[in-house]
Symmetry: C2
Subunit: 450 residues, 2 copies
C-alpha cells in the first residue's frame, strides 16, 4: 500500500462521564456532572482550537441495560439527548463539525429530516448524522415493543428511512429561493418539489418545510460493524467508525469497506474510515501508565463483570477472574457493535493471554493507549500512512483531562508531522472532509435532456 | 373584578418572516432570510434585555397548506424546526424562557421526554413545551396517514402522552443523584424508577436516561382553542395562548379557563392566560398607521384570499371583495386554532362592518395594534388590570423592527407603570412565572405513610 501524506481526519467522541467507567471518580474529573452542557461546551471549544474535524456525540435510547444496583455505580444512567445538545453546541462553536446520533428504528423520517436539516442550517453546514438502528430489547421497550426487530428488518427500514430523508432535503432546489422583495416572489414554485414517497415502511407526501441544508445533505455517519451494517455503510456511509484490535485487522476492514463502496458504484474516497482509539496520554510512558492504572483502580469486579456480561449478552459468573480467558462461545444472536466489542476483546485476550479479570476490566474502550505523546503520534502515523484508517475517533476516557492532554501533548506533534491541519480549509464539514456536496435529485433530472 | 397590580407576563411569538404575510418585503426586514439562526438570536437577546418572560416559537409539520403558486409568494414555506432552534437559543441566552412547539400526534413520548428534558437541562430550567396535536390532513400525510385523526382521539392521545412524559421526567427523584467519587456510588438505586406504563396508546418501560429536569417538569404551554383543547388546557396547561377579538370576549374566555382549572381541582393561579396581540407601534398614531398600511400594500388579493380560504377551509371566490362580509356558514369540521381565527374574524367583521377585502387582508394576526406606544400601553394595562389576561403574547408582525420598536417605545412606558418587571426574579421560567415546581410522584408517594 502506498504511503500517503497530509492531514488525517480527527474526531473526538465525548461521553459525559468519560469512556472509562471509573473515570468519573478521578479527582478533578467533571465526569460526575453528566447533565452539564457547560462541560461539553468547553471540550468542544478545546477541540475546535485544535482544529479537529468533528465532535462526535453518541447516544442510546435507554439508561444502559445494567441491573440498577450496578448502573448506580457508573456515570452511564443519564445524559443529554444528542440532537438538542448538538444544536446548543452549534450555537457556541463556529468551525468544527458536529455529529449527532439518531435512530431510524424509533423515529419518523419527517421529524428527523427536519431536525438534522435544521441543525445544518443553524451550524452553517457543519453537521453529520450518525445513523443507528438501535439493537437492544430494553430500548425497544421504551417504544411499545417487547423485542427489538431483527437486524435485516432494521436495516431495510434504515435504508428506506434514509432515502426518504434525502428526498425531503431535496424539496427546494438550490436556486429555488429568490427572496425578491420587489416582485413579492419568495421562491420559484417550479423548483419546489413534493416527495410523494410510498414504500414498505413509510408514506410521506412532503414537501419538507425547509430550504435545502447548506451541505445539501448533512454528512452520513455510521458504525458499520455487522454484516448488514457494513453493507449499509458501503452504500450510504461517508464517515465511518470502526473497532479493530490490531493494525492488520484494521487494514483488512479498511479494504473491505473501500471495496464494498466501489462495488456499490461509489468512489472509495467518498468514505472516510476512522479507527476508534482511547488515548490515555502522558509526557512519558510511565506517566501514561500511571494515569491508566489510576482509573483502573476506580473499578470493581462486580461492575466490570456486569459491563462485560452486557456486551457478551451472557452470564460470565462461571469463569474465575484469576484464570486465563478460555474459548468462549458467543451467543448466535450477537452482532453489530456488541459483536465488534466481543470479537475485539476475545482477539485481544488470545493475542495477549489475558486473565478474565483483565478481560472484564478491559470493557472501557478499544485500543486503549496508555502511551507517551510521542509514541501515540508514532502509532497514529503508522495506522494512517499504511492504510489502516483515514483518521481517528478518539473515545475520550476521562473528561476533561483526556481532551486537554491530547490537545496539549499530542496535537503539536501531529501538527509538526502534517497529520493534523493548520486551519480549517472550508466552512462546512463536507468541505473540511473533502466530500462533494450532493447534487439535488431534481436539478440532476432537470439537466438531463428528456 | 378587582384591579390588580404588578408585572404582567410578556411573551414574544417569533415567526421567521414576521406574522404579517407581506412584512418580509419591507425594506430593512430580515424576514426574507427565514432559515437564519442569527436573526432569532438577535431578537431573543433584545427580548431578554427587555426582561420578557418568554420567546415563543411556533411550528407546523408542513410547509403550509396553500397552493404552491401562492405559497411561493409568502415567507411561510420553510423554517427551522423549533426543538433544535430552542436548544441553540438556550446556548446564547441566559435568563429568558424559551417555548418550543412539539406535536403529540406525530412523535413518541420517549423521544420528546428526552428532547424537552434535555432542553431544560441545557437552558438551566428555562423551557416550556407548547403541546399541540396538529390539525390538518397535509401534516398527517407526512406521517403515513391520509387524514388527521379526529380531535377527541388526538386529545386522548395527547393526555396519555403527557402523562407518560411527566412520569419519565420523574425517573430520578431530586435527591437520587449522589455523585460520590469516594465510594463510587453515582446515584441511589432506591430513588431511581422505571415507568412500566401500559395504556391505550403507549407502552413505555422506562427508566428515562436523564436526571430530573431543573424545573421538575418544564412548563406546559397550550393554545386551548377548541372545546377539547380548553378542557385539556384546564387540566394540564400552565401558560395559555388565547385569541379573542374584544376585551369582553377575552374576559369571558379568561373566566372560563380559570373556572375550568378550579373544576379540575387546580389553583386558578397556576394557569397564566396570555392574550394574542400583533403590535404595530409608532411614536404617534399616524406613524403606526402608516407602518401598518405599508405592510398592507405589500399584500395582494390572491394570496390574501388564499390565506383566508385556508383558515376557513372553504372556497371564498364567490364573495365579491368590495362587498360587506355576509353571514358565512362555517364548515362543521372546523375547530381549534382555525375555528378561533374564523370566529375572531367574523366577530370583527360584524362589529366593524368590514368588506370581504378587509376580511381577507386581515388574516395577518389577531388584535393588530397600529397604535402609538402610549395608546398600546393603555390598552395592555386595561386588559391586564381588568382580568382579560395575565399577560400578552406579542405576535411580531415584522422582523426585526417589530421587536425593536416594541422594546424601545413601549417597554419603557410599561416599566414606568410597573407592568413589566425590572429584572428576572428567579433563574428558571417557573420561578419567573410564579409557578410551583412539581413534586416528584415517587417522592410524594414516599412521604405519605403506607
Amino acid at each position: 500500500m502506498a504511503q500517503r501524506k497530509g492531514p488525517a481526519v480527527w474526531a473526538a467522541f465525548l461521553w459525559p462521564g468519560g469512556h472509562h467507567h471509573g473515570a468519573w471518580r478521578l479527582p478533578g474529573s467533571t465526569g460526575d456532572d453528566i447533565m452539564s452542557f457547560d462541560n461539553y461546551r468547553r471540550m468542544a471549544l478545546d477541540c475546535e482550537r485544535a482544529k479537529f474535524d468533528v465532535v462526535f456525540l453518541g447516544d442510546r435510547l435507554d439508561a444502559w441495560p445494567l441491573p440498577d444496583e450496578y448502573l448506580a455505580r457508573t456515570a452511564r444512567g443519564a445524559r443529554l439527548e444528542t440532537i438538542t445538545l448538538t444544536a446548543a453546541l452549534a450555537a457556541v462553536t463556529s468551525r468544527i463539525g458536529l455529529v449527532a446520533t439518531a435512530s431510524t428504528t424509533f423515529s419518523e423520517p419527517f421529524n428527523l429530516a427536519r431536525q438534522i436539516g435544521s441543525l445544518d442550517h443553524i451550524s452553517g453546514g457543519r453537521i453529520g448524522w450518525n445513523v443507528v438502528t438501535s439493537y437492544t430489547d430494553d430500548q425497544a421497550q421504551n417504544y411499545g415493543l417487547d423485542h427489538i426487530p431483527p437486524r435485516p428488518a432494521r436495516y431495510a427500514r434504515a435504508q428506506e428511512f434514509l432515502d426518504v430523508v434525502k428526498g425531503l432535503w431535496d424539496t427546494y432546489e438550490d436556486d429555488a429561493v429568490l427572496r425578491d422583495k420587489e416582485t413579492g416572489q419568495f421562491f420559484d414554485a417550479d423548483r419546489f418539489h413534493k416527495l410523494g414517497h410510498e414504500g414498505s415502511h413509510f408514506k410521506v407526501a412532503g414537501p419538507l418545510n425547509m430550504e435545502r441544508p447548506p451541505q445539501g445533505h448533512p454528512v452520513i455517519c455510521q458504525a458499520g460493524a455487522s454484516k448488514d451494517g457494513i453493507a449499509f455503510a458501503a452504500r450510504n456511509g461517508e464517515l465511518l467508525f470502526s473497532i479493530n484490535s490490531s493494525i492488520e485487522r484494521a487494514r483488512d476492514y479498511y479494504q473491505a469497506i473501500k471495496t464494498g463502496a466501489a462495488d456499490a458504484g461509489r468512489d472509495p474516497d467518498d468514505i472516510k474510515v476512522l479507527a476508534s482509539i482511547n488515548p490515555v496520554i502522558g509526557r512519558t510512558q510511565d506517566e501514561a501508565e500511571e494515569k491508566y492504572q489510576q482509573m483502573q483502580r476506580l473499578l470493581d469486579d462486580d461492575v466490570s463483570r456486569t459491563f462485560a456480561e452486557m456486551y457478551f449478552g451472557m452470564d460470565l459468573s462461571g469463569y474465575p477472574l484469576d484464570e486465563l480467558v478460555p474459548e468462549i462461545e458467543l451467543p448466535d444472536a450477537s452482532h453489530g457493535m456488541p459483536r465488534a466489542h466481543q470479537e475485539y476483546m476475545l482477539n485481544k485476550a488470545r493475542d495477549e493471554k489475558l486473565t478474565m479479570r483483565q478481560l472484564v476490566y478491559g470493557f472501557n474502550g478499544t485500543n486503549i493507549y496508555p502511551k507517551s505523546a510521542e509514541a501515540a503520534a508514532d502509532e497514529f502515523q503508522e495506522w494512517y500512512e499504511t492504510g489502516a484508517a483515514d483518521g481517528f475517533i478518539l473515545q475520550i476516557s476521562h473528561v476533561p483531562e483526556g481532551v486537554t492532554d491530547f490537545v496539549e501533548l499530542v496535537v503539536p506533534i501531529l501538527r509538526r508531522r502534517g497529520l493534523i491541519r493548520e486551519d480549517y480549509v472550508g466552512t462546512t464539514l463536507r468541505e473540511n472532509l473533502g466530500l462533494a456536496r450532493p447534487v439535488n435529485r431534481h436539478t440532476t433530472a432537470r439537466s438531463v435532456p428528456a
